[in-house]
Each structure stands twice: as C-alpha cells, then as structure tokens.
Symmetry: C2
Subunit: 199 residues, 2 copies
DNA sequence: TTTGTTCTACCGGTTTACCGTGATATTTCA
DNA sequence: TGAAATATCACGGTAAACCGGTAGAACAAA
C-alpha cells in the first residue's frame, strides 16, 4: 500500500516476476482494511509517511488485529530513530526505496520465512551507531506541551502565564527535559527533538 | 533521473503509454551528463533529494548549459520553501510523487509547451499562503557557521573561542540572525531554520 | 494500599542571552 | 576604484536561562 501511484507501479512491475505472489495495491488505509477483513493477507508493504505518523499507527493496527500478517515498511527516511520507532510498532522489516529489485525480493522472502528483514542500507544504519541514541526519550503530555511552547520562542514566564502555573514549575520541566535529552541547553534540545520528529 | 529503482520503474510504465516519447532513465548524475553532452534532451524529470541539496545544484547545472532542456522536479517534499528554492534554480515545473498518472502526463505536456507546470497539490501549496514567507533569509558563510554552532548547543563565549574572535562579534552576528528571521530568540530561530532545511 | 510517575513549587546563585546604539576594518563586486 | 555588503569590536543595562538541591500533592497502576 502506497499513496504514490508511481511507486505502486514500480513495485508491481518488480514483483510481478514472481508468479507465486498475488498482488493487490491500495492507496487508502480504509480500502485496505476492508480488504483484509474479508481475505487472508500474507504480507503488507507499507509506505511510511512520517509527517503525520499515520504509517506507524497503521502498522500497529494491522499487527494488533492480524498478527500473522507480515508488515514491511518502505520509506525514503533513513533515520535510525524512525526505523526503530517502526520496528517497535511490530513491523517485520524495513526497506529503503533506493534498494534495488533483488534486494527487495530477498527481503520479502526473508520476512515471509519469519525473519526480520532489512535492506542493505538499513542494515548498515542499524549497525552504525551503538546503543547510545537507540532510545528516544519519552516525554509526558506536559513536557511535550512545554517543549512545543519553548520551540515556538516563548520564555519561561510567558509559558507559566499560558498554563496558569508558577514559572518555577516551568523551570523544573525545562531541567527535566534537558536531562532526558542530555542536551546542553534548550537550543540544542529543540534541534534534537526536531530531528527525532518530536516537534 | 531518479535514484530509486522502484520509482523509475513506475514512471516508465506510466509514461510508456505515450509513444511519442523516447525514454531513458539514469540513477547517477554523471551518467546523465555524459548522455546529454551527446544527445538532445527535451525534458528531464529530476528527483529532488533535499538532504544534500544535490538535486538543486544539478538543476542549476542543466539549465545553465542546456537552457532549452525542460526540467521538472519530482519530490515527496511538499514544503513551500523547497518548491520555491527549486524554481529559483530555473526549474520549469514541480510535481509531487503522489500525483496520479494523468496529472503527471498533463504537467509534462504543459512544460514541453513552454508553460510552468505544477501538479494540483503543488498548485495549492503555492497559492496557500500569501507572499509573506516567500523569501528564505539568505545567510552568509559566517552566519551559517555560527548558526550551526549555536544549534549544536554552543554558547557565545564558546563559539568566540572556536573562531578566534571576540564574543562581542558573535553577539552581533546573533542579532543579525534574529533580525533576518524575525525570530524572538535563538530557540525559535533554530526551529525555523530546521524547517527551512538550512541546518 | 503502596509504589511509581507526573506535576507542582521553592531558594540562592552564576552564566548567558538579548536590546539599543554605536563604530571601524575587510571583502566583494559592479 | 568606489559603493555595498560583510565581518569585526565595544559599552551598559535588563531579562532570561541554567544549575544544584529539595519536596509536597495528584494520579494511576500494581
């Protein structure tokens, strides 16, 4: 399933060489859900559009209701944090769109055989940095709220007024945020959070 | 030209219906440059990978040496600022990858007829906001250098030491940066710069 | 009910950021 | 070669950020 007609076409023509596969393509999540309710689906190639995070949630939905269905993410995004986010939602594999045909077919076969499948480049990314930045700091609602306000340029006293709490409280949250991200100051933190797609 | 085999396949199968077109595909810029030096190229569909900005430069190169060649950008990026950056480099049109087949074909025909061609969604994006954020602030080398350091969490005295200049100088640059972006403080500026893909 | 998490709040202190208003080199390019 | 643009440095002041430590109240889950 992909919302890009071009990519759908390309995938189809790549995969049609394998005659053991029966292929259906969808551009909308609802249409696919209708389909899977009435059919057995072995494998889903799911395009990850990260802007809104809908791909993540969709993966979670599929794995929750049809855990036997293999889900492989396809994306241009080559960021570590994104890949892990997707895997944490139950995905069976992750492929970058610049992978070549054979690579993609191999990954699909591996995934169908119960393995966790990555394209070569993804493999490298996963192995690149050790376990340091592996975990994305988890923010509470309040922290997200405050971080958003900070990233918009609001100062501590301003945010305190907006949220009807003491400036001291905001300061405490700030310090907790800096600690969680191991950032030197809010400027660095905002850059990191933006890279992690948290803002 | 695209570095995604899948997308290349898709485009080819979409465009092959039009028999008046002769189609070649390239995944590397050099290979294409070799080709265009020995052949007349009417139209180039150029994938914009914005991470490194190479697509932008490539467009500029083509239009500089072969101004008659029509260049259309293809991208997933739907951001205003990016589209304008590309058009400022001489592009004849801009298409999002989620455009459907007919839309793409129409754009190509329009572009070949001398029009500036946008896919529907791009059109909407261009018309969405008035001319306020149309211009991306232009930064000097020094300013980029300092902004990068700031976004990495370095303070004014630290940066001054790194660049062997007075802290006062760094402060001046900071104030110029804030003015150029009309930002309240550096935190907001870093967020804006990140959104504009300047960092 | 107890443990754990989150949200709240405070003190005292140092450092950094930001503002207004200047000025003088250095480089770039027409 | 001269006008722009860019880079450099400065004073004096206010506001905000950051640091270390502390701790009660609200809430949810075990």
């Amino acid at each position: 399933m992909d919302d890009h007609p071009m990519i759908l076409e390309g995938l189809k023509s790549l995969l049609q060489s394998d005659t053991t596969l029966e292929i259906f393509t969808f551009t909308k999540g609802e249409a696919f859900l209708d389909f899977i309710r009435g059919n057995t689906v072995d494998l889903v190639l799911l395009d990850i559009v990260l802007n809104d995070g809908s791909g993540l949630n969709f993966c979670k939905t599929i794995k929750k209701n049809w855990p036997k269905t293999v889900v492989i993410g396809i994306s241009n995004q080559a960021e570590r944090s994104i890949i892990f986010q997707f895997l944490q939602n139950g995905a069976n594999g992750y492929i970058l769109k610049n992978a070549d045909a054979q690579e993609i077919i191999n990954c699909i076969q591996d995934a169908l055989n119960g393995k966790v499948a990555f394209s070569n480049e993804v493999q490298q990314i996963i192995l690149s940095q050790p376990h340091d930045a592996l975990a994305i700091p988890k923010l509470t609602k309040r922290e997200k709220q405050i971080l958003t306000a900070i990233s918009s340029g609001y100062t501590t006293p301003q945010i305190a007024e907006m949220l009807f709490v003491s400036p001291m409280t905001i300061e405490t949250h700030r310090r907790n945020l800096l600690q969680k991200f191991k950032a030197k100051n809010m400027i660095e933190l905002v850059r990191i959070a933006t890279e992690y797609k948290l803002l």
